[in-house]
């Protein structure tokens, strides 16, 4: 039987507010345990939450970017459960009335576009962390993260393959970073994902029973976990079994999913409106204000790059993968005044390769826009050849100065003096009488040999076009 996979994703994006969702404590990652937890975060008796409106601004920004309606009135609700890293015994979230209503994103898998619906996005606070390793026989609690604002983005069950799921997740990831509302750091847990996965016979309208996969915090794991789970469910059904609704944990070491709790054990969170917080009212003015801060979005930027700079879809995609890289590229085109395609080749070629090699972000690139501009100038005015330019780039990357400094220090300036090149050619011809004879007898492939010898003798600095022209003349003389 042919099976169809159905996937919906829940993304938790930590919002980049300076202070927490309901307290004034800082949200910075990596501080000493419990140094960024104030009276409200540790839920002392008597404390009360006060909502940080910056979190709403960021949620609205996201809502506008996915074309969603913003609810003018949304309600904070308490999700009740006991756990040591949840100090109040409840999490403040939004339940019946989220801040962001239905929206959508378009993904592209192997050149095929598909619209993925987003059911809702709501604000909530993060929990703290339980530390099981460092305390013999005990569990440590770090509440630094407790109360950090999260935007939970819930998709429709619109994805039909792990590839689509990854494409959607990357799209959301790219978007939140473009909007500067989340740093997208999956290792530090500031961008997390759960997947609802089910299978059904192809053509069937009804959804199969789903499993919720947790702990899949990299793009690769999302793909692998879904693939494992789909196979598990198909094997189960084909073997005469039934999929049960449950929460499963992905184990990346063994590449399997394991049951965490079944539907029967599912918790009753006893949601109810938080009486400490009045409904969140978002006015039209507020929304218009946020709208003004929206940057150009990735899809629009890609289209513009293709149109304005004549780039291929692939190059435009690479260059707009992050707002910083796109900005870098545009600045380079502007400052260097060079052909946008040549500029694109340098950014997607050498620069991307070095960034990748050293695992660096564009913002940490040792080669600045000004430095590439200088390099492109020397290429354009024939001071150096394309081959030498790559050598110069590497030297600039290694901190040896800008293009001119590297060229001067290493003596890489191109030789364009006809007399000088002729002199070298004469010497080479004189040294190779046999090859000259063969060439003149008709073995024209030896031309390349002569070029190579000349370039070698000039350490690659002779202008290749001039070498070609002069050699041809001399050899046939």
């Amino acid at each position: 039987m042919e099976w169809e996979t159905v996937i919906g994703l829940e993304v938790h994006a930590q919002l980049l507010t300076k202070s927490k969702a309901f307290s004034g404590a800082a949200t910075k990652y990596g501080a000493e345990p419990n140094t960024q937890a104030c009276a409200v975060d540790i839920a002392l008796p008597g404390v009360l939450p006060v909502f940080n409106i910056e979190a709403a601004r960021m949620a609205v920004k996201f809502g506008l970017a996915i074309g969603a309606a913003i609810n003018h009135r949304s309600v904070f609700a308490r999700k009740n459960y006991f756990y040591p890293d949840l100090p109040k015994g409840y999490q403040i979230s939004q339940y019946e009335l989220p801040i962001v209503a239905k929206g959508q994103l378009t993904i592209d898998v192997d050149g095929v576009e598909k619209v993925i619906g987003i059911t809702r996005a709501h604000l909530e606070e993060d929990a703290g962390k339980s530390l099981h390793e460092d305390f013999h026989g005990m569990t440590g609690i770090d509440l630094n993260r407790a109360g950090t604002p999260l935007l939970e983005i819930v998709s429709e069950p619109d994805m039909r393959s792990s590839k689509e799921a990854v494409a959607y997740l990357k799209k959301v990831h790219e978007l939140v970073r473009y909007l500067e509302i989340c740093d997208g750091n999956m290792q530090e847990g500031s961008f997390r994902c759960d997947a609802n996965v089910s299978v059904r016979p192809k053509g069937e309208k009804k959804f199969g029973t789903r499993a919720e996969l947790k702990n899949i915090n990299s793009f690769r794991f999302v793909e692998k976990a879904i693939e494992f789970e789909v196979e598990r469910q198909i094997d189960l059904i084909e073997g005469g079994g039934k999929v049960v609704q449950e929460t499963r944990l992905y184990d990346s070491d063994k590449d399997v999913t394991r049951s965490m709790r079944s539907k029967e054990e599912a918790m009753d969170y006893r949601y109810f409106p938080d009486p400490d917080l009045p409904p969140l009212v978002i006015t039209e003015d507020f929304i218009r204000g946020v709208e003004k801060t929206l940057p150009e979005l990735p899809d629009a930027k890609r289209a513009r790059f293709m149109k304005d700079y004549g780039l291929t879809a692939y190059d435009a995609g690479v260059l707009t993968a992050s707002r910083e890289l796109a900005d870098y590229y545009e600045q380079l085109v502007r400052e260097s005044g060079s052909d946008p395609k040549i500029a694109a080749n340098w950014v997607t070629g050498e620069l991307a390769a070095f960034l990748n090699r050293d695992n660096k972000d564009i913002s940490a690139s040792p080669v600045t826009v000004g430095m590439i501009t200088g390099l492109l100038k020397r290429l354009a005015d024939n001071t150096i050849s394309g081959k030498i330019a790559k050598e110069v780039f590497e030297a600039m990357w290694n901190g040896e100065g800008d293009a001119d400094a590297v060229i001067a220090k290493k003596g890489l300036k191109q030789i364009t003096d006809t007399g000088a090149i002729e002199k070298v050619i004469d010497e080479i011809i004189a040294k190779n009488p046999k090859q000259l004879e063969q060439y003149r007898a008709g073995k024209e492939t030896l031309f390349g040999y002569f070029v190579g010898q000349v370039m070698k003798a000039t350490q690659g600095k002779a202008n290749p076009a001039q070498v070609n022209e002069l050699l041809r003349k001399k050899l046939s003389a």
């Binding site: 009276a39 839920a43 002392l44 008796p45 008597g46 040591p84 015994g89 006893r270």
Partner: protein, 484 residues
């Protein structure tokens, strides 16, 4: 001196007829003398005296406000930096608050002296002060009867003149009912008038702090300090705070008093009814008119309240889990066992009962039938008041259906206990300001309180009506025998 009001003591302090240190020391001695009342949970004489000395310095510099140097008993529900703050519970029996509630902070700024932390029903859940982990409080008017609750310690302290003033909190009547049962003036302000920050939550949408004193004038002086918007409490309201003493003497001529017929029907004791009728007659003499009104959904207030308040409480009390502060059970095998034992040992029976009721009311499958329905009733009850205030300015009636009952009389019958708040609960559900003032005595010698209910944020009108009544009556000046 013990019998002096806050207003009178304030004058005496500024005239330097007495120092705050002398006053504080004298009240502390008196508290000790009558410690059998069990009105206080915690006393910190050194801390209190340090505040008194600072107040005296301020008075000497001529920078005294109305409450500078006045010793005030604080209900043990308010967090006070460095003070044991138990909320009447074993689960917080070792909790020393590391911060000040907004109310405490305001009193400190005003130069008032924290005289001690008063006894209360555990987590303010009770109407008799019998649910306190620290034991029952006795009513100074008759030590065999309850002082009311949950602010029973504050009530007993002020009634016995162990403190000139105290704070209370009122979720369903916890200021007004004990004030009524101990012959005090107690004010529950409009919801949002006084900050709840640092006031340990029972039912967040109903809780409100207020003064428990002997006169309307003292209540005005206290409210002047307590009222106001607090950015740390999102439910506090940004309304201007008037000087509540300014309008105390306004003429009552033409004041329209609404008497809800539902408050004078079955369940009201005839002795209490008689006292209330006499009080209303007194108001007529002051020029007020009386109109009969109806609050048709009154009988729904108790069932509505006993869904909503426990629902909120079940969630509010989840933080008491033994993980970060407070009592933790000694022996446990794992996390769940720690939670279960800590909470089983740390909470008393009434608190557990309400956590269970509330948890049930919020559970999947029951939420609509209980919590949502109760929310609808709450709106109906508020609507009753809105309509009633179209034909009157102040609503009056009994605060409680009977005078104080015997210790132990209702402790095995929670429903009978809940009914003692029948006239006060709907005021919290509607969020309105309510007061109880001394109105006379029943033949058994126990005090009866008159309840005044006002419109949103019109505490001034209530205080004005109460003050004028106190100018022509002396019930509020009566003192329990054996404490003079």
């Amino acid at each position: 001196m013990f019998d002096k009001t806050v207003a009178a003591l304030s004058v005496a302090l500024r005239r330097k007829e007495i120092s705050s240190v002398e006053l504080t020391r004298a009240f502390l001695e008196r508290i000790n003398k009558y410690k059998d009342l069990n009105a206080f949970i915690t006393l910190e004489p050194e801390r209190s005296l340090a505040q008194a000395r600072a107040a005296d310095a301020r008075i000497a510099q001529g920078e005294a406000g109305a409450l500078t140097g006045i010793p005030i008993a604080q209900k043990d529900i308010f967090c006070a930096d460095g003070w044991l703050t138990t909320c009447g519970s074993k689960i917080l029996s070792n909790f020393v608050a590391p911060y000040d509630a907004t109310t405490i902070e305001k009193f400190n700024k005003a130069g008032a002296v924290c005289l001690g932390k008063t006894n209360m029903d555990e987590f303010a859940m009770g109407s008799s002060n019998e649910t306190s982990y620290y034991g029952v409080v006795k009513n100074p008017w008759n030590t065999a009867v309850v002082p009311g609750g949950s602010s029973g310690g504050s009530a007993a302290a002020v009634a016995a003149r162990l403190a000139p003033a105290a704070t209370g909190t009122d979720t369903g009547g916890s200021i007004r009912q004990p004030a009524s049962l101990t012959n005090l003036t107690g004010l529950k302000p409009s919801y949002g008038r006084v900050s709840r920050y640092g006031m340990i939550a029972f039912a967040s949408s109903l809780d409100q702090g207020g003064p428990m004193v002997r006169t309307a004038e003292d209540a005005a002086l206290m409210l002047n300090v307590m009222a106001g918007f607090d950015p740390r409490d999102s439910t506090s309201v940004d309304e201007p705070v008037p000087d509540y003493t300014k309008s105390l003497n306004n003429d009552l001529k033409g004041l329209r008093i609404g008497l809800p017929k539902e408050y004078f029907s079955k369940g009201l004791s005839s002795e209490v009814a008689k006292v209330i009728e006499t009080a209303i007659a007194e108001y007529k003499k002051l020029g007020a008119q009386v109109v009969e009104i109806s609050l048709p959904n009154s009988q729904l207030a108790i069932p509505c309240y006993y869904v909503l308040a426990p629902a909120e409480a079940s969630s509010n009390l989840s933080r008491f889990d033994g993980a970060r502060y407070g009592y933790r059970a000694k022996d446990y095998t794992d996390l769940l066992d720690m939670y279960c034992k800590t909470r089983a040992e740390g909470f008393g029976a009434e608190v557990k009962r309400r956590i269970m009721i509330g948890t049930y009311a919020l559970s999947a499958g029951y939420y609509d039938a209980y919590y949502l329905k109760a929310q609808k009733l709450r709106r109906l009850i508020a609507e009753d008041f809105r309509r009633a205030f179209e034909s009157c300015d102040v609503i009056m009636g009994p605060t409680t259906p009977t005078t104080a009952f015997k210790i132990g009389e209702k402790s095995d019958d929670p429903v009978a206990m809940y009914l003692s708040d029948i006239y006060t609960i709907s005021v919290n559900l509607a969020g309105l300001p309510g007061m109880s003032i001394p109105a006379g005595f029943a033949p058994d010698g126990l005090p009866v309180g008159l309840q005044l209910i006002g419109q949103y944020f019109n505490e001034s009108r209530l205080l004005n009506a109460a003050h004028c009544y106190q100018q022509v009556t002396d019930w509020h000046k009566r003192m329990p025998k054996g404490f003079d």
